[in-house]
């Protein structure tokens, strides 16, 4: 029998190598051990996971959990397995968990949500659940598994971060300057703060879509290219500070102080720009400039005025004897027609000279005013005829006088002077035909007006306006019109004192005068007088010619340092019958007073060493009840503002007429 057959036979009868039916025990044992090992490993892994892990069956019954979960709950694992959430958590929380479980198992997949968890120690924690369904390999739902992450810390950190973010955002937004954040490379606007929005009028979204051109005046040097140049310089590392003319959304231009620097914000390099609205400052600067100019102007006028005033004072002293002596001569030669005629001419010239000095004194404010409470409209209406006769026919005069206006404290003559000068100027400005309009109104000058006009206090004023349709003036001319001796007329045609006089009168009245003019557009002069509420007084007419001489009696002590005036007064008073004691200074006057009883002291106000009032004071001491009459060429000295003399009673302004002096003396002696 061959070998092959032998093997086959052995195999058939069960002696082959593979014949046996195995016992499974060793293999099963090994398999079981492996399974046990695997099971134990799984249990270890789950238990070692630091985060709480749990898994449930399809009904939400806990199948198992890890140590971390049991610890968090504060319940032993054995008392969790086989229970549901309702057994181990507060009712409200359990309801939430259960609903989430059911939804997860209905939907499949995973579920992440935040919830509250009551810890073993009773505290509530913010947690996040990561859950997933558990499926068999055939897709059948088996339950769910979940991990619980404590996010209390994270939430706290998030909260803190959000608060910090809000804080800084608030600061960013509410800083008083507009802040821009620009991309360093292309200059685009990345973010702006609320102040920027308020200042420029854009919303934040709009602003971030703009380029710098839209926010700028647009014309060089405030256009895109200059802006980019500034940005490039700042990007180079050197902070830049400069002024910029910006443009709001509504097109309005306004000035800004810009500060630009490069900075690192987080991971990126940016350009931080802060811009401050300096409109107020610019306006203040502009107002200052105007005020400075006005002040300089006023000072110039004032110094000239003082000069003129000084001259006028001397002139007055020279004119007084001339006028008085001529009047006396006229009286002497009243029979001789030829002499009287010539004397009249002299008087005329002297009168004109007197007017001239008055004018000089006006703008130097060195004349005595008779201040009364007046109705401006009445003054204007009363003067209307004279105006009409003075102004040429081809020019229409329009009166627009406001109603119910309060009175002003003023000198009527001076008001008329103002009207006359302004009207004449208006006439001269009109080439052929035109209109001069005179208006009065009650106006309120506000803070703004006050800021832009020097030395004007806000309040109610009575406005007198004189406007013409003439050729107007350019700004160069306007700057100088109130200067004495400034004239646009050819040599000899104008004194250049008209407006200077007006200026002086207005100032003496505590008022203000402003002129508005443009070439070919006419001119408006506006004079503002402070209002008063007082009974207005009627004008008094003062006669021009001398009254009849009467014979008087009384002893007059004459104190005058000017020789000519003293001589003139002496003669005049003596002729009238008074006994006159003449003194050239206070000492002499004192000596004379010591010897004789005086009825009236006639004294100059301003004298060297001892002034008129002082002299009177001393003489009163030795002769109580002594009366006094002051005379002076000055008005703005101490006297008018105190009780020493009152314009109505014991003061006479040089140059005076003989009648005036005699009348005054008579008046005072009569008291």
């Amino acid at each position: 029998m061959d070998l092959d057959w032998q093997q086959q036979r052995d195999a058939v009868i069960g002696l082959g190598s593979m014949s046996g039916r195995k016992s499974f025990f060793p293999e099963l044992q090994r398999r079981l051990e492996e399974l046990e090992e695997s099971r134990e490993l799984l249990a270890c892994v789950i238990d070692s996971i630091p985060s709480p892990v749990f898994y449930k069956d399809v009904d939400g019954v806990y199948l198992n959990c890890n140590q971390a979960f049991a610890r968090s709950m504060g319940i032993p694992r054995e008392r969790i397995i086989g229970r549901t959430a309702y057994d181990i958590a507060p009712r409200e929380l359990a309801r939430i968990y259960h609903r989430a479980d059911m939804e997860l198992m209905a939907r499949g997949g995973t579920q992440i949500y935040e919830a509250t968890f009551r810890h073993a120690d009773g505290t509530l924690h913010d947690v996040m659940f990561h859950k997933s369904v558990i499926l068999r390999s055939n897709g059948e739902l088996r339950g769910l598994v979940g991990v619980m992450l404590d996010i209390s810390e994270r939430k706290r950190a998030e909260e803190a971060l959000r608060e910090s973010e809000e804080r800084f955002r608030a600061i960013f937004d509410l800083i008083g300057d507009a802040v821009f954040i620009h991309d360093l490379d292309n200059g685009a606007i990345l973010d702006v703060n609320q102040t920027m929005c308020d200042l420029f009028g854009y919303s934040r979204e709009e602003a971030c879509r703009l380029d710098v051109e839209a926010l700028s005046a647009g014309e060089p040097p405030y256009s895109q290219s200059e802006a980019l140049a500034w940005m490039q310089r700042a990007a180079g590392g050197e902070p830049q500070a400069f002024e910029w003319l910006g443009k709001r959304k509504n097109g309005e231009l306004f000035w800004l102080d810009v500060n630009m620097r490069r900075a690192t914000i987080g991971p990126a390099e940016r350009l931080i720009v802060s811009a401050r609205d300096i409109s107020d400052r610019k306006q203040a600067e502009a107002e200052n400039r105007i005020l400075s100019e006005q002040l300089a102007q006023a000072q110039k006028i004032e110094s000239i005025g003082r000069l003129a005033g000084g001259i006028a004072h001397d002139f007055n002293n020279l004119l007084t004897p001339i006028i008085v002596y001529v009047q006396l001569l006229m009286k002497d030669f009243s029979n001789d027609a030829r002499v009287s005629g010539r004397l009249e001419q002299v008087m005329l010239a002297a009168s004109r000279a007197k007017d001239l000095t008055q004018q000089l004194l006006s703008f130097g404010r060195k004349q005595q005013l008779t201040m009364k409470v007046l109705d401006l409209n009445a003054v204007i209406s009363g003067f209307c005829d004279i105006l009409r006769r003075t102004i040429r026919e081809s020019i229409e005069i329009n009166m627009r006088l406001g109603g119910g206006l309060p009175g002003i404290r003023a000198d009527q003559t001076q008001l008329e002077q103002i009207l006359m000068n302004l009207a004449i100027n208006a006439q001269d400005a009109i080439a052929a035909n035109g209109v001069i309009t005179i208006e009065t109104a009650l106006v309120t000058l506000d803070e703004a007006y006050s800021r832009q006009h020097a030395k004007v206090a806000p309040g109610e004023y009575l406005m007198l306006s004189v406007s013409d349709t003439g050729h107007g003036m350019d700004s160069a001319t306007l700057e100088q019109i109130f200067e004495p001796f400034f004239t646009t007329k050819e040599n000899g045609l104008g004194t250049g004192l008209g407006l200077a006089t007006v200026y002086g009168i207005v100032k003496q009245h505590d008022g203000n005068i402003w002129v508005y003019s443009e070439p070919s557009r006419g001119t408006v002069f506006k004079v503002y007088f402070p209002c008063v509420e007082q009974r207005q007084e009627r004008r008094e007419e003062v006669p021009h010619t001398m009254e009849e001489v009467r014979q008087e009696s009384g002893v007059i002590l004459l104190a005058e340092d000017n020789e000519m005036v003293r001589a003139m007064a002496l003669e005049l008073l003596s002729e009238s019958g008074y006994e006159v004691l003449a003194a050239e200074n206070s000492d002499a006057a004192m000596k004379l007073a010591a010897e004789k009883r005086i009825d009236l002291l006639l004294s100059d106000v301003v004298m060297p060493k001892v002034s008129g009032p002082e002299l009177y004071g001393r003489l009163s001491a030795i002769q109580p009840g002594l009366r006094v009459l002051y005379m002076s060429g000055y008005t703005d000295t101490v006297g008018i503002h105190n009780d020493v003399f009152d314009e109505k009673r014991n003061f006479i302004q040089k140059p005076f007429s003989a009648d005036a002096l005699l009348a005054k003396v008579r008046e005072i002696l009569a008291t």
Partner: protein, 386 residues
């Protein structure tokens, strides 16, 4: 006595006797099973024996599912279907009730359940790596003895052959042998299965792998079967005869399971595969001719067989002995009701060539006492049996 050659003896746990079927549930529960696949065929179910088994299982609290799609020669497709049922029903134990077909089908199902793949992959000797689920076999014939043997025979319809699967892994865990089940066999079935058992016993005795471990079982089987076959056919409900027949079948099974078979079975397998003829009938018609063929090599063994058959072969010479055994076998099978030859069953002489070729490849041929030198040898036997 010469030294005994190294041999192995395999057998299942056997519960033999009247009322053994009622033990089925208890047996199954010992394996910790929860659900049994019960493999049977329509005839057995109709006879009521399957019902008893199901009841016994239920009593033991074991769930069951019945698979009865089994043909007389169990086919590969049926094995695969049964395995699928086992898997999908999540069974963990197999109970086979019936004749050779359900028993071999159940074995095939068990192999596939544990080893996957197709049952044809396990053709041959010792080719089963993983043991099958617990298998309880309850025979209702006497019989194929599949309830105790390490053989499983499955028909490959595609190739029209039968494959033999031989392994200790094929031996059932428990054989519950209840002679009552034989009482419902009809005459023809009793004859076929009885003759099959006789052939098992004779072939095991004359097998060239016979041994002292198997010889006594074989001879005892021959004695029991030859004595009680005809009476049991005549009195089907006589439990005595049926019990003796069942015992004879058991003994035959123990013998051939461990000594294997011979040319008769090889040739019968070939016939069954090719023409789907009943196994027992084929064996019965071939036995005498194979005896003639083998006598030259195993004359002495056949003399013992003759004695067991009740012949006084001690005094005969070889030729007389041969003729006596031949004649007795023929008489027995004819009296049992299996008469005529293969030609009467539709076998043509043109089939003989293929039949012989297949028979030569059968595992049972290996232990035939006279090894055929060529195919022609077997063809001659077929021709004689026609």
């Amino acid at each position: 006595m010469s030294a005994i050659e190294l041999r192995k003896f395999v057998a299942p746990e056997i519960i033999f006797g009247l009322g053994a079927i009622e033990r089925a549930g208890q047996c199954a529960s010992l394996y910790g099973a929860r659900k049994a696949l019960v493999v049977s065929d329509p005839g057995v179910i109709a006879a009521g024996w399957t019902g008893l088994v199901l009841a016994a299982l239920s009593d033991a609290g074991i769930d069951h599912v019945l698979f009865s799609g089994v043909s007389p020669n169990p086919r590969t497709e049926e094995v695969m279907s049964g395995a699928e049922v086992h898997r999908s029903e999540a069974c963990d134990l197999i109970v086979a009730v019936g004749g050779g077909s359900p028993l071999d089908c159940a074995k095939g199902i068990g192999i596939v359940v544990s080893n996957q793949g197709n049952i044809l992959e396990y053709e041959g000797i010792d080719r089963i790596p993983v043991p099958m689920p617990p298998l309880i076999c309850i025979p209702t014939t006497a019989g194929t003895s599949a309830d105790v043997s390490q053989f499983a025979i499955i028909s490959n319809r595609a190739r029209r052959t039968k494959i033999a699967i031989i392994s200790k892994a094929v031996v059932p865990d428990v054989a519950i042998i209840d002679p009552r089940t034989l009482t419902t066999m009809d005459t023809y079935l009793s004859a076929c299965t009885g003759m099959d058992a006789l052939v098992h016993a004779i072939e095991a005795y004359v097998s060239n792998a016979h041994s002292p471990l198997t010889d006594n079982h074989a001879l005892q089987a021959i004695r029991l079967i030859s004595s009680h076959l005809l009476p049991s056919i005549a009195a089907p409900h006589d439990l005595d005869h049926r019990s003796q027949m069942m015992l004879g079948s058991l003994e035959a099974g123990l013998a051939f399971s461990n000594a294997s078979l011979g040319a008769t079975h090889a040739m019968a397998h070939s016939l069954g595969g090719r023409l789907d003829l009943p196994h027992g009938e084929c064996n019965a018609m071939l036995l005498e001719h194979v005896i003639s063929y083998n006598f030259a090599e195993a004359g002495d063994r056949y003399r013992d067989v003759g004695g067991a058959l009740g012949l006084d072969t001690g005094k005969m010479d070889r030729a007389e002995c041969r003729a006596a055994v031949f004649g007795e076998v023929r008489r027995l099978r004819t009296a049992a009701g299996i008469s005529g030859g293969l030609g009467d069953r539709g076998v043509r002489s043109g089939d003989v060539g293929d039949l012989a070729a297949n028979a030569l490849r059968d595992a049972c041929m290996i232990t035939n006492p006279r090894l055929p030198h060529q195919q022609r040898d077997i063809e001659v036997i077929y021709e004689e049996a026609l």
